[in-house]
Amino acid sequence: MRKLKIIIHREFIAKVKNKSFLIMTFLSPVIMVVMGGLVVFLMKKNDEKVKEIVYVDASGLFTKENFKDSKTVKYQDYTQLGITETKKKVAKGDFYGVLYIPKKGSLELLAKSIAFYSKDSPGMSLIKGLEARVETHLRNLKLTQFEIDLMHIKASEITSDIKMFNFSGEESSKLINGLKIAVGAIAGYLLMMFVMIYGTSVMRSVIEEKTSRIVEIIVSSVKPFQLMLGKIIGNASAGLLQFFIWGILLFVISLIISAVFGVDMVEMQASKIPEDQLNVAKEAANPDKLQLIFQEIARLPILKLFLLFIFYFLGGFFLYSSLFAAVGAAVDNETDTQQFMLPIIAPLILGLYVGFATVMNDPHGPIATICSIIPFTSPIVMLMRVPFGVSWYELGISMALLIVTFVFMVWLAAKIYRVGILMYGKKPTYKDLYKWIKYKG
């Protein structure tokens, strides 16, 4: 144990003292925030630019009422000038574009014949906005044709807000569902990033010991298994420290940026969330509901979440990094690692895909459930499922399987590692690895 501690200490210090580690630790959050800020800033600037659009209404069905100016678009009526002349003006650059509404026999035909001319191809949101204006007005006209009073339509609009309960009688809301998705997705994504960054770091460290030829001296003092374990734990500690610093720095820098530049962080987040979740975010921005949100967050099984997060995080990392260590031991240099990397990375990516594709829509569906039990995908998928509440027996099976597989894989990897670190000059095949595993002692 004493030797293991010494190895962990060295691995940790060697990693942390490394210049690239220091640079990565302190620069990446800055870069991330600056990039994020830049995107928001540019989007804002983009929105601030007002587009001038004119319309030529040959049908005579539309009025100025239908084309009210918005924050980003100003409308002008050029019906008098006629479409041919207006198009010339647009071509000259006087306006951004012209919406042409021709005269047609029926509303249906008209709806299909409206055209927009512009020099640059317009963005989707602009066209969607124009379509919405046209559609609303045409629908109203149609309703009037059916002699339906628009007042009645307005009055009959009812919105329903279905409240969700689970069987322990706790009320949950869509907001908390969004929160659960976010928590799960972030946890799963973090785990994958962590495994990729620090797994390869373990691998590189093994290769370094092999190429510098110090490894035989070390294994004459300690068991190869101790060396491997020390490496994995040392790198994991360095990684956790880095993640911790990143977390703090991101928080601090975000605060500074939002204070200095007035970039609203909620807005920044919202810009990344797809449409249907946008409402949730807006809900969150409502100060009246803030108290409710905190209540909801408090109601999440924070401790359970945290403990499971730690368990799957470490389990997943140990499982994968022992494989990375075995690959590092098998080869002489990093270029030879490629053929062995794919089988390691594939289940990792699969886990993430399954997580994003199925867990979010149906956290307890068959694919999500199976993948959260299979050990190679379970760390990521289960982490994503956990916030939605997973039954204890499923958790039990998943955790037990992960532990068994983790112990087995570390044992297997240690066998490859033990033989591999003393093999030079030959690029091994899978057959060789199998032979190494069978060697005694």
Binding site: K3, R213, I218, S221, G441
Partner: protein, 309 residues
């Protein structure tokens, strides 16, 4: 207990390949023991088993009278042939690290390292990285790291590679000094002149088998051919040579002596007394050179290996 290491019927296989076939060795305390053999003979496998880097398939290793145990690594110092140090770690830090892995406390390790660094006059390197040092300098650090925990058993695999003659001599003297202080030394090398110079005992391993073991002098005696190198000043060399050819097996020899004359290698039959040859020679002329041709380690090596294959 007179033997530090007793190796009994050691077998090691890798798949279908047998690296060690029933090898037994006895290494006396306080000796310099030369472990010789061609490349791929199984020396490294044997050394790795002694260092507990790999495990034997069968057979036992006794260290200081007891079965070799994991804690014994603290009493063994190993300088492998494939060796190196962390390139980007500071010399002092990694020496401390390796010493701690051998079971020394940090303060004790510091004290001993200071002694050795002063002895080799390299204290100025403490904060340098290995990549800033020359190969010879790194080898010195490597040597210190091997011996600083005062092990009972030292295993050197090609210890002189990478050293210039001056530093090689420095290291050779240090090794002999360590033996004088009571350490037992296993010495694996292809440089036969250093075997002659340093080893008390040798063992020869070829094709996974031990083919020779014992005191160097004893082995030399066993390998001697009763051949003498002779230089004779005589007025009619041709006649003398013809006479000698009738009595002994004679071949021409090439060596330097001051006076010109007959130069021959003369092989006696087994049991024949060299005095008879000498008295015959003195009757024929003035004997200027009379030396028994004792095989050196190199010849023994080549002879034994050729015989084995």
């Amino acid at each position: 207990m007179d033997n530090l290491l007793e190796i009994k019927n050691l077998v090691k296989t890798y798949g279908d390949y047998t690296a060690l076939n029933n090898v037994s060795l006895t290494i006396p305390k306080g000796s310099v023991y030369g472990l010789l053999g061609p490349n791929g003979a199984g020396k490294t496998s044997l050394i790795r088993i002694i260092n507990q880097i790999t495990m034997q398939d069968a057979g036992e290793v006794y260290f200081d009278g007891k079965l070799l145990a994991p804690d014994d690594v603290a009493h063994i110092g190993y300088l492998p042939e494939e060796r190196g140090l962390y390139k980007s770690m500071k010399v002092g830090e990694q020496a401390l690290y390796l010493a701690q892995l051998k079971g020394l406390s940090k303060s004790e390790a510091k004290k001993r390292l200071k002694y050795w660094f002063d002895k080799f006059d390299i204290s100025a390197w403490w904060n340098k990285k290995i990549e800033e040092l020359s190969k010879g300098m790194a080898q010195k650090v490597q040597f210190i790291v091997t011996v600083m925990h005062k092990p009972k058993l030292l295993i050197f695999d090609e210890p002189f590679s990478g050293f210039d003659p001056i530093n090689a001599q420095l290291i050779a003297n240090e090794i002999l000094q360590l033996r004088a202080e009571g350490a037992t030394i296993i010495f694996s090398t292809h440089r036969m002149e250093s075997v002659e110079e340093m080893c008390d005992y040798i063992a020869l391993i070829d094709q996974s088998n031990k083919i020779l073991e014992g005191k160097l002098e004893g082995i030399k005696r066993a390998f001697r051919t009763n051949t003498f190198q002779v230089g004779l000043a005589t007025s009619n060399p041709k006649e003398v040579e013809a006479k000698l050819k009738q009595l002994f097996t004679v071949s021409p020899a090439d060596f330097r002596i001051i006076n010109e004359g007959l130069k021959l290698n003369i092989a006696l039959k087994k049991g024949e007394n060299p005095n008879e040859l000498l008295s015959f020679l003195t009757s024929q002329g003035q004997v200027q050179h009379f030396v028994e041709l004792v095989p050196d380690a190199n010849e023994i090596f080549i002879k034994a290996v050729n015989k084995n294959s």
